[in-house]
């Protein structure tokens, strides 16, 4: 079975631009979460969606938004990009709220 897939794998943007990152969960997984991982740090929680509804939000500005589609795939949008948004963006999926999350390999976002 395919794991969590994310696209694109790498992305370069400039300050002020907008970006959309995509995630396809493992088949049968209804919960999708997004994390930001800055180099040398652990992942930091951004959003969780379960059955297409937002179930949790981390301490990120409103420039960050996300949504989940009927097929449980998800998009993360970031507006007005800042240099500090440069990071690895990870998507994780799980079957239930109480099941361990499985991560994709992330999208490496670089802001120039």
């Amino acid at each position: 079975d395919a794991g969590v897939t994310q696209s694109p794998t790498h992305l370069i943007k400039t300050r002020g631009q907008q970006v959309t990152l995509r995630c396809s969960p493992i088949s049968g997984h209804k919960s999708v979460s997004w994390y930001q991982q800055v180099l040398g740090q652990g992942p930091q929680f951004i959003f969780q969606y379960y059955e297409k509804e937002e179930r949790g939000r981390g301490n990120f500005p409103d420039r960050f938004s996300a949504r989940q589609f009927p097929n449980y795939s998800s998009e993360l949008n970031v507006n007005a990009l800042l240099l500090g948004d440069s990071a690895l963006y990870l998507c994780a999926s799980s079957t239930l709220d109480t099941s361990p999350q499985h991560f994709g390999d992330g999208t490496r976002l670089s802001i120039l």
Binding site: V4, S31, S33, Y35, G40, Q41, G42, P43, Q44, F45, Q48, Y50, R55, G56, G58, L90, A92, S94, L96, D97, T98, S99, P100, Q101, H102, F103, G104, D105, G106
Partner: protein
Amino acid sequence: GESVGLHLPTLSVQEGDNSIINCAYSNSASDYFIWYKQESGKGPQFIIDIRSNMDKRQGQRVTVLLNKTVKHLSLQIAATQPGDSAVYFCAANRGGTGANNLFFGTGTRLTVIP
């Protein structure tokens, strides 16, 4: 605020020895804990998890111990192999959020010496 911290940023062990990676968490409401392994260029890989109603859980070559009294978590890897070299993260939930909304530590880099 909430925090999850690992005691050592790096750990080196001889191949075949046992490894112990320690972690402390601050939120007494956390009731779900999980360990991940992250290799260079990859996403975190699930190793083992434990809920607060348990104090020990075993997997294949790995054991997680939970001490809620002192808010401490440890990962033990038996007969460490070169393929175990990676960064290890512990994470805890916010409490009442199931397996989601995780707070991660900064990671311990495990190096296995052949």
